[in-house]
Symmetry: C2
Subunit: 585 residues, 2 copies
C-alpha cells in the first residue's frame, strides 16, 4: 500500500508515475469506504484524485499555495498532506473536516466552503507575493460549476490583466455543478472540449488568459507533464482539465447528482443505509409548490444550483418544466431575476440555504425591497439544528435580512402555518417576503391557522396568562411551549405564550397591552441574538418597567458542534430558563 507511506507531499514525489496510478486507486478506495460509512462529498472528490496527485507531484506545497474553490473536493489533498489516517483509519475519521482548514494543516490556505472564492483569494496572494518580491506559484483549483458565480467571474476578470506575475488557474471541467450546469459559458466549454481547446471563441482567452487544454484529467502522466510546463510561469494561465465526476466508482459515475454529497450507503448497491422517512419540510414545500404551479403558470420556482434546498431532484424538476429555473451558482442573479419576474407579472419563489442568502444581500435590499417586488424567498437550513460546518451554519439570516426595510420575514411554527404563509406570500402583490423553514421537526397546528398575513406584524397570542409572557419565534415555538409548561409547574404561573410570526416588525399594540399585567418578557429565537428579533423587543420596553430576557445564540462562528452543548451553553433549555427567572417571579 502506497497510501500508508505518504506523510507529506515529498513522499509522493519519490514515487514513479506508475506508482502514483496505484496510489490513485488506493485513494479512491479509501474515499468510497469512508463515504459509505460516514457520508460526505463523494463524486466530486473521486473526480479530482488524479489531478490532485499530479499537482502535489509537481508543485511544492506549502511554499507554493494551492487554493481550493469550495474545497469540498480536497480529500485527496488532505490524504497527501499528512492526514491520510483520517481516511483509512475508521477511528480517526472525525479528525478532519470536509473542507480545507488551516488549523489542520499548513497545506490548507483558507477555511472556505462557499463557491467561487478561489481566484480572488489567489489574486490577493499573488499580489502580496509580487509586492514582497517572492517567486512561489499561486494555484487556484476551481470547478466548472463554480464559474457561474459572480465572485469567480470578477476574480477571473481581475486576474486576466491586473496580476503581472505567476497565477495558475486549474479549471476542473466535469460538466456538472451539483446538478447540471446552466448558462452560456457552458456552451463554450463544450466547444472547447470538442475541439481540444482550439475553437474560435475561448472564454478564458477572452478574459485575458494564456490557456492550455488537457483532454484526460485522469491521465497522471499527461497532467504532470502539463503542470511541469506551467510551473514558475511568469503570467496568469488557465489549465483546463476534463474529468469525470465520480470517476472510479460506477454507482457515482451513473448518479453524479445524488452522489455529489452522500449519507452513509451500501457500496455494492449504492443505496442509502438509513434513509430518513419522516415528515420533512423540503418535501412538504416541494410537493405543495408543484401542486400550486400546476394550477398557476405564473409561478416560477427558482434555485441556485442547490436542488437539495427543496429536494428538487431531476424527476421533480421535469414535472414543472419551464416553471423551474436553476440559475446556477448565481444567487445575486437569482434575486435580481426574481425582481424582474415579479415586475412583469410572474410569481417567483426562490429557495436556498440561509448561508447562501448571504451572497445576495445587496440584491435583496436594492432590486427586491426598494422596488417592493412581490417575490417569495424560502430560507432553509436557517437554524442551530442545521448544517454545522462553520462555512454553512444558518444562524445569521435574522440580523442580515430582517433589518432591511420593506421585507416581510415570516417565521412559521408548524406545517399548516408554513403552507398558509407560503400561499399568502405567492398570491399577494405588495411585499417581498421571506419564510424561514423550521428545522426542529415537523409539527402540526393545534388549531386553525390564519390564512391572511397582510396585516403586518400582528402577533398571535396562543395562550393568555399573566406576569410572564413568552415570545417564541419560529421553530423555537415548541421550546416556548415547553417553557410555559415548566413555569406553570414550578411557579404555578399561567404565562402568556405568543407566536410572533413576523420577524421584521413589532406588534406594538400587543406589546403595550402586555405591560398591564406582565412584568417579565422572555424572547426565544433560533439565531444569533445580536441584531436579531429579541433585541428589538428589549429596545421597545427600554423605557418601561418591564423586564426582558432575550434568549438565542451568542454571536460566534460555531463549527462542528454538539447541538445539546450549544443549546445548554446558550441557556436554550426550558429547565435552565426556568431557573434563570427565579429572581423575577
Amino acid at each position: 500500500m502506497y497510501i500508508e507511506k505518504i506523510y507529506t507531499p515529498s513522499d509522493l514525489k519519490k514515487l514513479t508515475i506508475r506508482e502514483c496510478q496505484e496510489l490513485a486507486k488506493e485513494i479512491r478506495k479509501a474515499l468510497i469506504v469512508k463515504a459509505s460509512k460516514k457520508g460526505g462529498h463523494l463524486a466530486s472528490n473521486l473526480g479530482m484524485v488524479d489531478a490532485t496527485i499530479a499537482i502535489h507531484y509537481v508543485f511544492n506545497s506549502p511554499t507554493d499555495k494551492i487554493i481550493f474553490d469550495v474545497s469540498h473536493q480536497c480529500y485527496t489533498h488532505k490524504i497527501l498532506t499528512g492526514r491520510k489516517d483520517a481516511f483509512i483509519d475508521e477511528e480517526l475519521y472525525n479528525t478532519c473536516n470536509g473542507y480545507t482548514n488551516p488549523v489542520e494543516s499548513e497545506h490548507d490556505v483558507f477555511r472556505v466552503g462557499h463557491t467561487a472564492t478561489s481566484i480572488s483569494l489567489a489574486c490577493g496572494m499573488a499580489k502580496a507575493r509580487d509586492l514582497a518580491g517572492g517567486k512561489e506559484n499561486i494555484i487556484a483549483i476551481i470547478g466548472d460549476g463554480s464559474l457561474s458565480g459572480g465572485e469567480a467571474l470578477e476574480g477571473l476578470n481581475f486576474g486576466g490583466s491586473e496580476i503581472q506575475g505567476n497565477l495558475i488557474i486549474i479549471f476542473n471541467d466535469n460538466q456538472m455543478s451539483i446538478a447540471e450546469n446552466h448558462g452560456g459559458i457552458y456552451k463554450n466549454l463544450q466547444q472547447l472540449r470538442e475541439t481540444y481547446g482550439k475553437c474560435e471563441n475561448n472564454l478564458f482567452k477572452a478574459f485575458g488568459y494564456d490557456y492550455l487544454f488537457v483532454k484526460d484529467g485522469h491521465d497522471i502522466e499527461e497532467l504532470v507533464k502539463t503542470l511541469q510546463s506551467v510551473k514558475d510561469i511568469d503570467h496568469p494561465i488557465v489549465v483546463h482539465i476534463c474529468t469525470v465526476k465520480g470517476k472510479g466508482y460506477e454507482h457515482a459515475q451513473m448518479n453524479k447528482e445524488s452522489t455529489h454529497w452522500v449519507r452513509p450507503f451500501d457500496i455494492e448497491s449504492g443505496k442509502e443505509k438509513n434513509p430518513f422517512n419522516g415528515a420533512r419540510y423540503d418535501y412538504i414545500i416541494r410537493d405543495h409548490l408543484i401542486e400550486k404551479m400546476k394550477k398557476d403558470e405564473r409561478i416560477v420556482t427558482m434555485i441556485a444550483a442547490v436542488p437539495g434546498a427543496l429536494s428538487f431532484s431531476e424527476e421533480y424538476r421535469k414535472q414543472i418544466g419551464r416553471q423551474f429555473v436553476d440559475v446556477g451558482i448565481a444567487e445575486e442573479h437569482a434575486i435580481a431575476m426574481a425582481a424582474g419576474i415579479a415586475k412583469h407579472g410572474g410569481k417567483p419563489v426562490f429557495a436556498t440555504m440561509s448561508t447562501f442568502f448571504q451572497r445576495t444581500y445587496d440584491q435583496i435590499s436594492q432590486e427586491l425591497c426598494i422596488n417592493k417586488m412581490p417575490a417569495t424567498m424560502i430560507v432553509v437550513n436557517a437554524s442551530v439544528y442545521s448544517a454545522d460546518d462553520v462555512t454553512h451554519i444558518g444562524i445569521f439570516d435574522i440580523p442580515m435580512m430582517s433589518n432591511i426595510p420593506n421585507l416581510v420575514y415570516l417565521a412559521p411554527t408548524n406545517r399548516q402555518e408554513y403552507i398558509a404563509m407560503l400561499d399568502w406570500s405567492i398570491d399577494q402583490t405588495e411585499y417581498p417576503v421571506a419564510i424561514r423553514a423550521p428545522r426542529n421537526g415537523v409539527f402540526d397546528a393545534k388549531g386553525e391557522v390564519d390564512v391572511d398575513y397582510s396585516e403586518l406584524n400582528k402577533y398571535k397570542v396562543v395562550s393568555e396568562g399573566k406576569e410572564i409572557a413568552i415570545i417564541a419565534l419560529g421553530d423555537f415555538f415548541q421550546l416556548g411551549e415547553e417553557l410555559s409548561d415548566k413555569i406553570k409547574k414550578i411557579y404555578s404561573i399561567n404565562s402568556t405564550l405568543i407566536n410572533p410570526r413576523y420577524i421584521t416588525g413589532l406588534d406594538k399594540t400587543l406589546l403595550t397591552d402586555l405591560i398591564k399585567n406582565h412584568k417579565l418578557i422572555i424572547t426565544l429565537e433560533d439565531g444569533v441574538l445580536d441584531g436579531g428579533f429579541g433585541q428589538k423587543i428589549a429596545s421597545f420596553y427600554g423605557p418601561q418597567d418591564m423586564k426582558v430576557l432575550n434568549y438565542g445564540l451568542k454571536k460566534e462562528f460555531l463549527d462542528r458542534y454538539n447541538i445539546s452543548e450549544v443549546m445548554e451553553k446558550n441557556h436554550l433549555c426550558a429547565d435552565i430558563i426556568a431557573e434563570d427567572i427565579k429572581n423575577y417571579v
Copy 2:
C-alpha cells in the same frame, strides 16, 4: 426647438433622422446647462444621448421594456418620456431624480442605482414574458464599466443560454468606468473595437450570444438601422456600441473621470463653482494612507471603481503605484482579494461607500471573518448626512456588518481618533477591522486619544456623571455632547458621556458599573435602530431596572430627504431628547 415638443416617445418617432440629430444637440445643451447649475451625472449622460434617441425611435416603450444599468445615464430617456421640463425649466429641475424611477413614469421599469443589475432584471422580465406568451422586446442597457460586476456576469451567463426568446443587451462601450477600467475583458473589448467586432475571441459569443458591432454609437442613422434589425429578434443578442464619454462638451471629453458626476460648475472653464475647501475625511485618510504606504510597501490601498471614496484622483493613484489597486466594480472580489493579501503578509485597506459594502456581505463573513484575516475596511458615506438617494443611503451598514462574528467595527468621533484607529488597524494582525468615517464635519480631539485598540470593546468615559449616561456612537458623539450640555442646563444633572468606539461589542464591565448610580441610558447612533448598536445595550439592561432610550433612524428607505426634517422626525436633536426624558429624571 424640437426638445420642447417631445411629450412622449411617439413624438420622437415623427421626426426625421436629421431632426433627431438636431434634437440630440438640444438635449446635450440642456444636460450641460442643468448640470452646471444643479450638478449630477454629466459625462455619462452626454455619451448616451444619441443611442437613447435611437432606442426610443425604434422600440415602443413602455410596451417594450428598457432597463438601464445603474441608470445614472438615463437623463435623455427621461427627456424623451415626458420629463423634458425637468431639464429645460430651471424651476422644475427638482421634479426628477437622477436615476430611473417608476414613480415618475411608466417608462422607468425599476428604481436602481447600484451597478450590474440590468441583465438579470431583464432576464426576469423575459422569463415572465415567455411564460405569459408575450412578444415585447426586453432591452438591457449596460456600460463597459458595469460589466466587471459579478452580478452582471452572472446575468450575462444565464441569459446566454437560458432565455429562449427575445433579449437585447445594448452594450455601451465608452472605455471607461468612473475611472479607467480594470480586468482582462477590457483587453478583449479593445480587440473587438480594433477589429470592428471581428476578432478571434469574442467575450459575448463565448457567453453564448449573437452579436452585432456598431462602430459609432453617436451615428443615429446607423444605430436606428441596427436596432431595427434586432427588434423583435427571437433570441438573446448583444449590440456592442462604441461611444465617447462626455461627447459634445470638450471639457467633459477631456476630463472624463472628474465630469462623470459633477457639482455646479462654470460651463466655459469647467471649474467647480463653490468648491468645498474645509477639512474632509476623504482627504485626511488619503493623505495619511499615502504617507504610511511610502514607509511600508506591504500596505495595499484598494478601491472598487469609486476613487471618490477617498478622493484618489489620478495624480494620487500614480504616487503609490503598485500599492494602489482598483479592482473595478467588483466588491466581492475586492474583499476576497484583501483576504488573500492579508493571508500572505500584506496589509490591505479597502475603501468604499457604506451602500457598496452591501454587495459583499458574504465575503466579509466568510473569507475575511471566518478566516480572521487582518484587513482594514474604510466605510465612507455611512451616515444620514451622506448621499440621499434611496439607492445610495448609508444608514444600514451597522446592522449589516456589526453582527458578523470576529469583525471589529470601529466608530471614531474625531480626526485624531480616526487616524489612531486606522494606524492600529493596519499594523495589527489579529482582526478584520472596519472603520466608519464620520460625516458630520471634521472635529479635533479635545485631549489625548488612545493608540492601542486591541483591548476590544473598551468604551471611553469622556465625562463622569450620574443618573443619566449618554452613549454616543461615532459621528453622533457631538450630538451626545450637545445633549449632555442641555441636560445640565435644564435638569442640573451632570450626565455621564461615553464614546463607545466599538460598534461590535459591549463593554459589560462599564455597563454593569453604570447600574450603581445611573437610572437612564441614552444611546445615539447614526444609522437605523433595528439590528443596530443601541438595541444591544437595551438587551443588556433588559433584566435590570435601568431605563434605556435608543435613538437612531427608523428602519425605512429614505429618499431625497431634508436632513433636518429626518433628524427631527427621529428625535435626533438635543432639544427633543431633553424633552423626551422629562419623565425619567
